[in-house]
């Protein structure tokens, strides 16, 4: 029976209507997934090298033990936002002659198919085999593995339980991140240390391996709790995340912008009330860490802004790029309504500019924490910010008038490539290359700061020309509107 369920699931995945259209897109996404898996494997294998470098002067096993609980805390918060309830898929079976317990078994197994359950294995297992084995022996290795798998399952089913009880909300995710950040700060100022707690726990397992069963018991308990809850509440309307009361909201700060502000508020609601748009914004915050991969001491010291600029532009403009690549399509479901109502197209375009500017401003302010690495980065981010709001917005909105692909934003976000087409991939070229090309000659002349200055001036000039760009894009939009509307109706 279970295998029948699973084969139906496989079919529903492969035959899904909103699976990415073109083969090229899928191949590319395949590469991305492979890439992320490879990164996980690489980090896992390389842990013996990374750990001593990050935690200087600390015993390698202590630091390994130390990060485990941190990882799972982070894992928990991420799951809170991203992991989905495997619910809807069982509706067609509920009225058939299938015992409840089978359906619940299926739900439980289906919940295991999540990237979150694969990551800890790839990350931690190599180190366990390489280092723990030497230190504590085979039994300890086994118990480490059992502990890690147990915590993974614990998180997995706890999240499902929490989501089913629907005590979840975007804000909890943010609160979760803040709590983790506070712990990290405590760690840094040596007040309270989650690392040493984590080390204490896992050192205990190393020395008395059977203690690892503690995690297993906890995991089994939560599994049982979850299954019992399912058994007692196997009704479709009770299984999904519960409907909370929806209230009307008003964004007072946008009111001062008049009609443009109203349209911007409308779109802000769109972003916050749909999963796909919401997670694209949250993704933007994650990309704030992108700089740590790019900004090397060597590059900073040698003023190689050309190399670093890409990261700067991407981070400060991430909301423009990620949200903007599907521009207008977000509103595909009610595009006819927008066109036939008394909405001035110019205001419509202006509202997009306004939203982009606000979003980019917020994220650029957040990105100033790179100032701890060097003040030069803050300068560069400021330049990138000017470029983004001055010209990046123009590129995105201009290209948006060529996007006719409908997207259904009520559908899940992760691994949903509906509406992805060539435009999305092409977007990045003019966007990222323009400032780098402007900067390049100055870099060759060894006057990098003049290069930054010029890019900044370019951004400001474009910003001052915004009225012109708005008119240009509005005219383009007016010309293209039938085509866009037609595409969105399909």
């Amino acid at each position: 029976m279970l295998s029948t369920f699973l084969s139906h699931q496989r079919k529903s995945f492969w035959r899904s209507r909103n699976r990415g259209g073109s083969i090229a897109t899928q191949v590319l996404m395949g590469f991305f997934m492979l890439y992320f898996l490879a990164v996980a494997v690489g980090v896992g294998l390389g842990m013996t090298v990374f750990l001593p470098k990050i935690f200087k002067g600390v015993d390698i096993i202590t630091s390994f033990n130390g990060i485990i609980l941190y990882y799972f805390a982070l894992d928990f918060v991420m799951r809170l936002q991203l992991q989905e309830l495997p619910t809807l898929s069982i509706i067609p079976y509920l009225h058939l002659k299938v015992p409840k317990s089978k359906i619940i078994g299926f739900l439980n197994i289906k919940a295991l198919f999540s990237a979150f359950n694969l990551w800890p294995i790839l990350l931690f297992f190599p180190f366990i085999f390489m280092e723990i084995a030497d230190e504590y022996g085979a039994f300890a290795v086994l118990m480490y593995i059992i502990s890690i798998l147990s915590i993974t399952l614990f998180n997995n089913y706890l999240i499902l339980y929490i989501k089913r009880k629907s005590i979840t909300n975007v804000y909890y995710t943010l609160v979760g991140f803040v709590i983790i950040a506070i712990f990290a700060a405590f760690e840094y100022f040596k007040l309270i240390s989650l690392i040493s707690t984590s080390d204490f726990v896992f050192r205990g397992i190393g020395e008395k391996p059977y203690l690892g069963f503690g995690f297993t018991i906890a995991a089994l308990a939560i599994f049982k709790l979850n299954s019992t809850f399912l058994y007692n509440n196997l009704y479709v309307e009770e299984l999904g995340a519960k409907q909370e009361k929806k209230v009307s909201t008003d964004y007072a700060f946008l009111n001062r912008f008049g009609k443009v502000g109203e349209l911007a508020a409308l779109e802000l609601k769109l972003i916050l009330r749909h999963k796909r748009s919401r997670s694209s914004i949250i993704l933007g915050f994650f990309f704030l860490l992108y700089g740590f991969m790019f900004y090397r001491e060597k590059l900073i010291n040698s003023d190689s802004f050309g190399t670093m600029m890409f990261a700067g532009i991407f981070m400060t403009g991430v909301s423009i790029i990620i949200y903007g690549q599907f521009m207008f399509a977000w509103q595909s479901a009610h595009f006819d309504g927008l066109l036939s109502n008394k909405i001035n197209f110019k205001n419509f375009i202006k509202a997009k500019f306004l939203l982009f500017t606000i979003a980019s401003t917020i994220i650029s302010l957040l990105s100033t924490f790179y100032g701890f690495l060097s003040w030069k980065l803050v300068l560069m981010h400021f330049v990138c910010y000017l470029y983004n709001i001055g010209f990046g917005t123009v590129i995105v909105l201009y290209l948006a008038t060529y996007n006719y692909k409908r997207i259904d934003i009520t559908k899940a976000a992760s691994f949903n490539y509906q509406g992805t087409g060539a435009t999305q991939w092409l977007l990045m070229f003019p966007y990222a290359l323009t400032p780098i090309l402007i900067y390049l000659p100055f870099s060759l002349l060894h006057i990098p700061y003049w290069g930054l200055f010029t890019v900044g001036i370019f951004g400001i000039v474009m910003l001052l020309m915004r009225g012109f760009w708005v008119n240009l894009i509005t005219a383009k939009f007016e010309k293209q509107r039938y085509k866009i509307a037609e595409g969105f109706r399909e």
Binding site: K246, T249, D336, G337, A485
Partner: protein
């Protein structure tokens, strides 16, 4: 004359979906557009609202081509399908938004909505739901009420009676018939009873062409039934 259609044609590939030579609509008329599925009713309405570019011909609203400007939006309100609703808003937010486009204050919208309490039957307001969570019938009510709220001179509704419960159908008929002022109403419907009851003029279309265009009288319903049963 509020609306005039000249040699309007829409062709998809080699199929002509709409092919209307000439229609004139006077202020204050109530017109029903009747025809089977695929007759081109919705495509025609979309061209009236400048949502589709005609292959040939033009739609003149108060003498001006709708494709050339926005003026017609000042006195035209419409509801064709759920695509006109912004479904992630609560009904209150949606009404406020539509109101603000027409320079109605929140208070104006509120007082307007109280008039429609009976029409909403207590299901729309204060229901703590987004529009997308409503049934189709209730979504229709929201769309129709939002259109009427704009106090339009020209109202265009595509199958307004579909999905509505019987009580609401009767209430809607009453609203359309008794609407104060000189509103021009253009509706399409598959329900011959309702359409002959509400409309003073019927336009019958088939495969994109106007077959009949006449004033309603006591024989109209019979005539239409005869036409559709053969």
């Amino acid at each position: 004359m509020i609306l005039e259609v000249n040699k309007l044609k829409k062709v998809y590939g080699d199929k002509t979906v709409v092919n209307i030579d000439h229609i004139q609509i006077q202020q204050g008329e109530t017109i029903g557009l009747v025809g089977n599925n695929g007759a081109g009713k919705t495509t025609f309405f979309r061209m009236l609202l400048d949502l589709i570019r005609p292959s040939e011909g033009e739609v003149l609203s108060k003498g001006k081509n709708v494709a050339d400007g926005d003026e017609w939006k000042n006195y035209t309100a419409s509801f064709l399908d759920e695509g006109f609703l912004i479904d992630y808003l609560t009904p209150e937010e949606y009404f406020t938004f539509i109101g603000s486009l027409n320079n109605l204050s929140v208070a104006d919208v509120g007082s307007y909505l109280t008039q429609y309490a009976e029409f909403f039957n207590g299901e729309i307001l204060n229901s703590w739901k987004y529009i997308r969570d409503f049934s189709k019938g209730n979504q229709n009510k929201v769309g129709i009420a939002a259109a009427l709220m704009q106090k339009p001179e020209l109202l265009i509704l595509d199958e307004p009676f579909a999905n509505l419960d019987p009580t609401t159908q009767i209430r809607l008929k009453k609203i359309l018939k008794e609407y104060p002022g000189n509103m021009t109403t253009f509706i399409s419907s598959h329900d011959l009873n309702h359409v002959t009851d509400v409309c003073s003029r019927i336009i019958l279309v088939e495969k994109g062409k106007v077959i009949k265009d006449f004033k309603t009288d006591e024989n109209t319903l019979k005539e239409l039934e005869n036409y559709f049963s053969t």
